[in-house]
Point group: C2
Chain length 340, copies 2
């Protein structure tokens, strides 16, 4: 840490609510200990200082401090396939039990076959069919209980741990650091908002009302006992990907973020929209370039394309041109998981 | 105020953040000075005490304290017609200037005629056509500026005051009282959320992200200079009335409210959904029964029906049966407006 960085850190830490000098006189607690020193960490510290120091030209009033984070691949592992898709696959036998005629129909037939190669080749349309079938007709409370039970028991096959353990420690630190400086942190995910809301408060400290995601329609009605229920419908209401992220930020939050963090082409418009506001705004993208500790993928690095978390060369170029920070998982993150 | 009420008030005030005993020893500041003593005020104080006293059986953790308020007729005057509709009517000449062919087409022709009786007879479909035409094609920032300019200059014909002066003082006190006790206050309105968000923070202390309302679709694109813009589309995405209120509370907040306040059949499902949760929940409806200080309308009182803020006999009966509190504007509100 050079002198310049030290000054920043001291100023930022001094300003942060609830943080104070710890240890011997002069020593400061690093708010981002899992981030290596370097331009990425520097950019975060500079941004927070510029927007929270009352004497700064770019000071942002607390009520306008909005930070938005993609989830899959940005806050937790998305490879080899999105966690929510695993949930849907796991639900297929139950769905088919209730509707036996689906057993012979694609894409259910393929999922039931257990043929990993064939499953990996399912189209997005196929996945949406499965998502629709596995949740529709349930009331929102039953769905929540179902997801909570699943997420408590399911294990990632590589790390043999609950999926919620596969959150990135540097990002958890960053979320806390931003909140400590008055930022309201939001998840803006292509995943289902009802899915993510079941664990976001416990795992990320982000309450349900700060989770923006894809969402199906709901239908208000009454159960047999007269109790009102909200039933999940198979039609898509909000597609929170690409342009949908910027649109839904306006719909659900109504303010333009000052800070946005993503990892794929699905986050492009969110980053553009964030950066296009006046004053100091920061957009960041994490590049999955660590095949040892996590995964390495994407054409930006000359690696094969993948349908899960595509990071194209064009996105890389736009980030560079527009001053977004590309974070290298390999170089910028000292530790990736809390269990490391 | 009887002894029982006094105890309540003392306990509630003692627990409320930022509130303390004022004046001579033993005297307490009334958090709701514009409410007359009586069962309605009592119900509010009891509810807040039951849900915020840590030793209460019905204690609600702070993060779950959600209170939702309808706007038109609940937080401000809705008669003779919704303020947003006045805004749309005022915009019609500008719209017709840009598209002269609309001058001869209904319902624009009627609005341009200035014939009040004919305008009052326009159907909901007509109104939606006007709403659609007056906002679509604008980017959200331009729309915001336009509404802000209008709301700063427009005057209600009866009181000759800005519409934002026509907010009910008892409700402003109630919003503050709930927030002082850890409740997050939301507006859940049939009105347009982009419209209400322009002034809700200044007028009600409710930030844009806590305004849920009807909303049109948005389309992300780029202006001629390459700047990203969100353009308002003429299609309705969220209809935040009736069942839509309960559905959108789930969509936008993701938690069931503990407290809901409305004034018409459009708030029925919001109240039902709120009351159907476990523990102590409170639903309230204000009855417009004060033809001197405000307006008196609705079949619940044997008065003529109105398309603006319908309060039917059936709603009244359901409220009574399900334990919702019907607030009499005439009897329960000591003062209606801050300017009184």
């Amino acid at each position: 840490m050079d002198l310049h960085r030290r000054e920043f850190a001291a100023l930022v830490l001094g300003a942060a609510a609830g943080l104070s000098a710890a240890g011997p006189a002069g020593a400061q607690t690093d708010p981002l200990p899992s981030w290596n020193d370097g331009p990425s960490k520097d950019a975060i510290l500079r941004f927070v200082l510029a927007t929270t120091d009352a004497s700064s030209r770019d000071f942002v009033p607390p009520e306008e401090r909005i930070a938005t984070f993609d989830q899959d691949g940005t806050l937790w592992v998305e490879h080899p396939i999105y966690t929510q898709v695993v949930y849907c696959f796991d639900r297929v036998p139950t769905v088919v039990k209730a509707k036996p005629e689906l057993a012979g129909v694609e894409p259910f037939k393929t999922v039931l076959s257990g043929d990993r190669e064939a499953i990996a080749k399912l189209s997005l349309d196929d996945l949406l069919k499965i998502v629709g079938a596995t949740l529709s007709g349930m009331d929102v409370d039953a769905y929540r209980d179902e997801v909570l039970a699943w997420i408590g028991g399911a294990r990632d096959p590589r790390w043999k741990r609950p999926y919620t353990d596969l959150t990135y420690l540097p990002q958890i630190e960053l979320l806390k650091y931003l909140r400590g400086n008055g930022y309201k942190t939001y998840i803006v995910t292509g995943g289902g908002q009802d899915f993510v809301r079941t664990y976001a408060e416990r795992v990320y400290g982000i309450p349900p009302e700060q989770v923006v995601g894809s969402a199906g329609g709901l239908s208000y009605g009454y159960a047999a006992d007269g109790r009102p229920v909200l039933v999940k419908e198979p039609k898509l209401l909000l597609n929170d990907n690409n342009a949908g992220k910027a649109e839904n930020i306006h719909l659900m939050i109504g303010r333009r973020p000052y800070f946005a963090f993503g990892n794929s082409t699905g986050d492009r418009q969110m980053c553009e929209y964030t950066k296009a506001g006046h004053g100091t705004r920061l957009a960041m993208l994490v590049l999955h370039d660590d095949d040892k500790r996590e995964y390495a993928y994407g054409p930006a690095q000359g690696l094969p394309d993948t349908r899960v978390g595509t990071f194209t060369r064009e996105l890389y170029d736009e980030a560079e041109k527009d001053g977004w920070i590309v974070v290298s998982m390999k170089d910028d993150w000292k530790r990736i998981f809390a269990f490391d």
